[in-house]
């Protein structure tokens, strides 16, 4: 009878043992050695999503595109250390219409910039809709990286989630591999840890019992006839070979940056969100540092998410607060603290990237070659507008001119994704998402 996975490579990949592991290992700077020199400077993309719109009066700076230095509003003060590498973009709208309410289109058309399929999922208003009908920009860029030898990595892209509820619908998915093909973010740090470093953990566990296995084999073999003992002798030999394989895989797969320490058994409950966020960001940065992927995303909650941020002293759900009228000072204060907390998580990501030197002889930090973009599905929570999406870009990946704020006065966000793709080297991308919205080409950000 054939086994379900007769391919031995699958197991070897799992355990990270043997030659089959090498294609991945070879992607690591530590292994590529001289070859690394000829690889061009890597470019990376990290998308951070936070939900339910922002507070425009707290988010937008006073001045745009002036010669003056970028002024960060207090809500975004966590980003101060990266001010010179920060670019705030106003006047960019999600102009995709059609089926679905604004939350749904805000979420599922955000990175895809194309319409939703008709469907059976309905929110508070408008017509029901289904999944987005096209690929998302992060996947488009990842596919581009993966299609080229010098930028191909083990995973291509990694989709992290923080407190994303266990449901699959257009409010919970922003990454799409294509029409009708949503990609689920991994919001369990344990699962993500297993995906990134599972081989190593398994290897250690197996290595830890091999002495005991050998003792058992010896004990049992002693009772057997010489003919039967042959089978167990061979088994004993194989155990030694496995031990050697594990040891050599361990040295081959040695990470340039050792894996972060996380508690893989952390309970996925609302109150653990801050800890989970940091674990996910730590793993994301580590994965980029080890060149496991060059595209990543972190999705906080979901569109219409009702996170109760007890850790900020807020008991109400986030989405409920975002519906409160502008003159509700209490809600306004809480939303400011919520968005300031999100800014802090983005800042932590930037800080980790800035603290990690770019591998090789090039100098600089990971942040210098990584484009962070912080996005939201709505311009403003209580109006559900898709105009003036709050967009913050940090880092040097796309080569944009930073340390400023720019206002495009109303243009489709398709053009921003074109600019991002071109800035990251995917210059052949002539249009993205709904073609009509691409007129004018990439937004001039460089």
């Amino acid at each position: 009878m054939n086994s379900p996975m007769s391919d031995r490579r699958q197991f070897l990949r799992h355990l990270g043992v043997g030659a089959a592991a090498f294609p991945f290992v070879a992607g690591l700077p530590s292994v590529r050695g001289d070859e690394q020199q000829v690889r061009s400077t890597p470019k990376r993309l990290v998308v951070v999503f936070t939900p339910n719109g922002t507070l425009p009066d707290e988010f937008w700076p006073q001045h745009f595109d002036g010669a003056a230095e970028l002024e960060l509003p207090p809500m975004l003060s966590a980003l101060a250390p990266f001010r010179s590498q920060t670019l705030i973009v106003k006047g960019v709208n999600n102009e995709v219409r059609g089926d679905g309410d604004n939350h749904m289109r805000g979420m599922s058309c955000l990175l895809t910039a194309t319409v939703l399929n008709p469907g059976n999922i309905q929110g508070g208003s408008d017509s029901p809709a289904g999944w987005a009908s096209g690929i998302s920009i992060d996947q488009e860029i990842s596919n581009f990286f993966q299609s080229r030898d010098e930028s191909r990595t083990r995973f291509g892209s990694l989709e992290f989630g923080v407190a994303v509820p266990n449901r699959a619908d257009p409010w919970t998915r922003m990454c799409y591999a294509g029409d009708n093909q949503p990609i689920a973010p991994i919001d369990d740090p344990g699962r993500m840890f297993a995906k990134l470093y599972g081989g190593a953990a398994s290897r250690r566990r197996v290595a830890g019992v091999l002495d005991g296995v050998r003792d058992d084999l010896r004990r049992v073999a002693g009772r057997l006839s010489p003919a039967d003992r042959r089978l167990l002798d061979r088994h004993m030999q194989l155990v030694s070979e496995l031990e050697k394989d594990i040891a050599s895989a361990e040295s081959q797969a040695a990470l340039l940056h050792p894996e972060p320490e996380i508690d893989p058994e952390i309970e996925l409950v609302n109150d653990n969100t801050p800890a989970i966020s940091r674990m996910q960001i730590d793993m994301l940065v580590n994965a980029l540092a080890n060149d496991m992927a060059r595209v990543a995303s972190v999705q906080f909650m979901r569109s219409v998410g009702q996170a109760r941020m007890n850790w900020l002293g807020i008991d109400e759900g986030h989405h409920g607060l975002s519906h409160e009228p502008d003159d509700n000072a209490d809600a306004h204060d809480k939303l400011r603290r919520i968005n300031a907390w999100f800014a802090g998580e983005v800042a932590y990501l930037a800080q980790c990237l800035a603290a990690t030197p770019e591998p090789g002889e090039r100098g600089g930090s990971l942040l210098d070659n990584t484009q962070i973009i912080w996005v939201n599905e709505l311009g403003k929570g209580n109006s559900h507008t898709l105009v003036d999406l709050p967009l913050v870009l940090i880092g040097g990946g796309a080569g944009f001119q930073t340390g400023r704020a720019v206002d495009f006065q109303g243009t489709p966000h398709n053009r921003l994704w074109l600019a991002l793709a071109h800035g990251l080297g995917h210059e052949g991308l002539a249009a993205f998402g709904t073609k009509d919205f691409c007129a004018g080409g990439p937004l001039p950000l460089a």
């Binding site: 009878m1 086994s3 003919a227 089978l231």
Partner: protein
């Protein structure tokens, strides 16, 4: 056939086609005073000085089951080749004794490593056993499922119909009933009375029993929202699983929850172990769509796509069965049956992966496992004892308790470590680790019974019986065997045996579509089901008569198969109804006994044993020779392809094969193969009855040279079956196959006489297959033989 070839044949050294035959001429005979000298001078040139065979002459080593008398008679009649008169009488007898003693007997072949070892060997678990054992090991620590509103074994699924309020918010249950299958087209209407058509939801719950091990596919078709959950924990809540629920249920197997305004088809594949049940849950909702429909289909191994339903789908609620996906390499089959006689790097990798999988599964289910409340150490010790299929020694117990409870990484890390240790230990991986000759302990008996009947480990009742010393007497053990035989796992193992005996998995049945346009995938799947139904009908009937398998004058046909195979005129108005389309309406259909004889004329086998555009008397003949009349055939050392285009198209298939094999060398084997194969010439390449071929009447008559030298006249398949049901070698071959399949050891491992004893008892017991299974399980569990006389043993 000349005498030399007859001998080759008798000795089981026949080959289909042998090149360089002419080099084996008459060996000049010198004066020889001893049988050894006669052998070396007269026989060794072709048979080899050590009986190992000679390339270009008689290529294979001696192998067979004749007595010394039979050997002597053969030599007298046929040896040396071309001048048998040179060795007759006492001399032939002496040479026969010498050959028997030196080369031919089981002991002689065993000495030379050419026969099974004659002892119960230490074997590792086979890949199939390994998966079963891991599944049942975790199963024994799994909490029982909730009670179903319609307890097992009602067919179908528990269906709960809800009125919705706002998309999929099921508010009010309107109806709970049993749906035999999920294949509904509600169009624009409501599914049941009392529900508005605009928005409603339905939840189906139940379990699916996998009839055999393999890859299963499931397919959902709907223009609305649906998701299929399969083989997970927590699938039996009645209400639609809330989207924002804790998430403990995890991802659906098939997720078609979000619509796209069109009919969609989504499918997934999953590997399942046969003889086990799996929890299943299907959720559906309609919201504002113009129409609604839902269809759940499956494609089991060897099957075609059809609506999921039938006996395998029940309203019973069951617990999750853990199935490891570790990539086990194929087990050794060189002895003619799968057994764990070798270890390799691939195997150790797979065993390690299975252990890691199991540790992950246990860690994930930790709080819900039974016995965990007694502490990690105690749990680990119990798990190890279950895995080892025996109580732990004091030292082992201490070690496992320490492993699990003393890990600095905490309870989870400790238990993972203990699971890994247990599942990589030889006490888990190997069977028969007791030293030779030691008396069987009662836990050993339990372990062997579970392996023989289920390919798994003892269940709770069996282990408890061993713990309490209640596996002492034959009656006690037999009562357990009878209980275990009713378990679906035993049925799965028996089904596997028949699939192997009848070679059901080994051939491609697809045919030339212009010649046989009706013979499509669905027909092939139905035929497979038909042959399985037939075998099960016979084996699990009261008589359980082996002869019925060969002689039955009936088949199980559904309406689709009837259109192809029913030889009676299909009456007008007998068109298949809608349910027939799924092939679920099999009925017993009787035929003229001269035209129907059990598995021999089952269209599945007749189609498998045929070319894509014509019959193949050679394939059919070889199968009948080896598997039905139980004679040995060597594979041909030189392959000769049958090329139909090289023959005059006016010839019949029988004439073509006769010409192809007319050479006297070929006829060494084909004198046996061809008559058996020709007996089935009335059945075309898809197993339909035919009276003529190329406008010429079919000639199925011939003379079959039986292995006792008698010429048997056969006119049809029934004559072959009649011969087989009274042939000792046919019975012996069947018993040996069954024994090897169940025990993974050769019967000679227990005693030289065992096979003969079992054969005689089988014959005396009206060839009751179920009783034979019980007997094999008993013998393997206790190493105990029933009394035997020496009549049939080698002299």
């Amino acid at each position: 056939m000349n005498r030399y070839q007859q001998v080759r044949h008798k000795l089981g050294l026949v080959a289909f086609v042998v090149a360089g035959w002419g080099s084996c001429g008459v060996v000049p005979r010198a004066a020889a005073s001893t049988a050894a000298a006669v052998y070396q001078e007269t026989c060794a040139a072709c048979h080899g000085a050590d009986g190992q065979g000679v390339a270009g002459a008689y290529e294979a080593a001696f192998d067979g089951e004749l007595s010394v008398d039979q050997l002597a008679s053969l030599i007298e009649r046929t040896m040396p080749d071309g001048s048998p008169e040179d060795c007759v009488g006492d001399e032939a007898r002496e040479v026969a004794e010498y050959v028997y003693r030196q080369f031919y007997s089981i002991e002689a072949r065993r000495r030379r490593g050419l026969a099974p070892s004659g002892r119960v060997e230490v074997l590792r678990l086979t890949a199939g056993q390994h998966r079963n054992v891991v599944a049942d090991l975790i199963g024994q620590f799994t909490t029982p499922p909730p009670e179903s509103p319609f307890p097992w074994p009602s067919r179908g699924l528990v269906a709960s119909y809800f009125q919705s309020d706002g998309m999929n918010k099921a508010t009010e249950r309107t109806l709970t009933r049993i749906d035999e299958q999920v294949d509904f087209d509600f169009q624009a209407g409501a599914p049941v009375d009392g529900i508005a058509a605009e928005q409603f939801s339905i939840v189906w719950r139940g379990s699916l029993q996998a009839p055999c091990t393999g890859a299963y596919e499931f397919r959902l078709r709907t223009q609305n929202g649906a998701r299929l959950y399969f083989n997970k924990e927590g699938l039996y809540d009645e209400r639609i699983l809330r989207d924002d629920s804790s998430g403990s249920v995890g991802d659906p197997l098939v997720d078609a929850w979000v619509g796209s305004g069109a009919l969609r088809e989504s499918s997934a594949r999953v590997f399942l172990l046969g003889g086990r049940s799996y929890p299943l849950r299907l959720e559906f909702f309609k919201y504002m769509d113009a129409t609604a429909s839902i269809c759940l289909e499956w494609k089991p191994p060897h099957g075609a796509w059809s609506v999921l339903g039938g006996d395998d789908l029940t309203t019973g609620f069951v617990s999750k069965t853990f199935v490891t996906e570790a990539p086990f390499p194929a087990d050794d089959r060189s002895a003619g049956y799968e057994r764990g006689s070798t270890v390799s790097g691939e195997w150790l990798d797979a065993a390690t992966a299975a252990a890691l999988d199991a540790a992950d599964e246990i860690a994930e289910r930790f709080p819900r496992l039974t016995g965990i409340d007694k502490g990690a150490g105690e749990f680990a010790a119990r798990l190890a004892a279950t895995a080892f299929r025996r109580p732990l020694s004091g030292d082992e117990r201490r070690r496992f308790m320490e492993l699990a409870s003393g890990d600095p990484g905490g309870r989870d890390a400790g238990v993972r470590r203990a699971v890994l240790m247990a599942l990589m230990s030889p006490s888990f991986l190997y069977t028969e680790l007791t030293s030779d000759g030691a008396p069987a302990t009662q836990h050993g008996v339990a372990s062997r019974l579970a392996l023989a009947l289920w390919d798994s480990l003892p269940d709770e009742p069996l282990r408890a019986a061993a713990d309490q010393g209640l596996l002492e007497t034959r009656e006690q053990i037999e009562a357990q065997v009878q209980r275990m035989l009713a378990d679906p796992r035993a049925h799965a193992k028996v089904r596997e045996f028949f699939a192997q005996w009848l070679e059901l998995d080994e051939r491609d049945l697809s045919k030339d579509r212009t010649l046989f346009p009706e013979f499509d995938e669905a027909v092939i799947a139905d035929l497979r089901r038909s042959v399985e139904l037939f075998v099960e009908h016979v084996v699990w009937s009261d008589a359980s008569d082996y002869r019925e398998l060969l002689l039955a004058d009936y088949l199980f046909l559904n309406s689709r198969l009837r259109r192809l195979y029913d030889r009676a005129e299909v009456v007008a108005g007998d068109e298949p109804d809608a349910s027939a389309a799924s092939g679920g309406d099999f009925e017993l259909v009787r035929f003229d006994p001269d035209q129907q004889s059990g598995v021999l004329t089952h269209p599945y086998l007749l189609s498998a044993l045929a070319y894509h555009n014509n019959t193949s008397p050679i394939h059919r003949g070889v199968f009948l020779t080896r598997n039905i009349v139980g004679r040995q055939l060597r594979p041909p050392p030189v392959a000769v392809a049958f090329r139909e285009s090289e023959f005059d198209p006016h010839l019949t298939m029988r004439e073509k094969v006769t010409r192809l094999t007319s050479d006297s060398a070929c006829m060494a084997c084909h004198s046996v193969i061809n008559p058996l194969g020709f007996s089935l010439e009335h059945f075309d390449a898809v197993g339909r009855w035919r009276e003529s071929e190329n406008d010429r009447a079919i000639d199925a008559r011939s003379t079959y040279p039986a292995d006792d030298g008698v010429a048997v006249e056969i006119a049809n398949a029934r004559d072959v079956a009649r011969y087989a049901v009274q042939s000792d070698s046919a019975h012996r071959s069947f018993v040996r196959r069954l024994f090897r399949h169940m025990v993974k050891q050769d019967p000679t491992a227990y005693s030289p006489e065992l096979l003969e004893t079992l054969r005689r008892e089988f014959a005396a017991d009206e060839f009751n297959i179920r009783n034979l299974i019980v007997k094999v399980a008993l013998v393997s569990a206790r190493f105990e033989l029933t009394p035997s006389d020496q009549e049939g043993s080698p002299q």
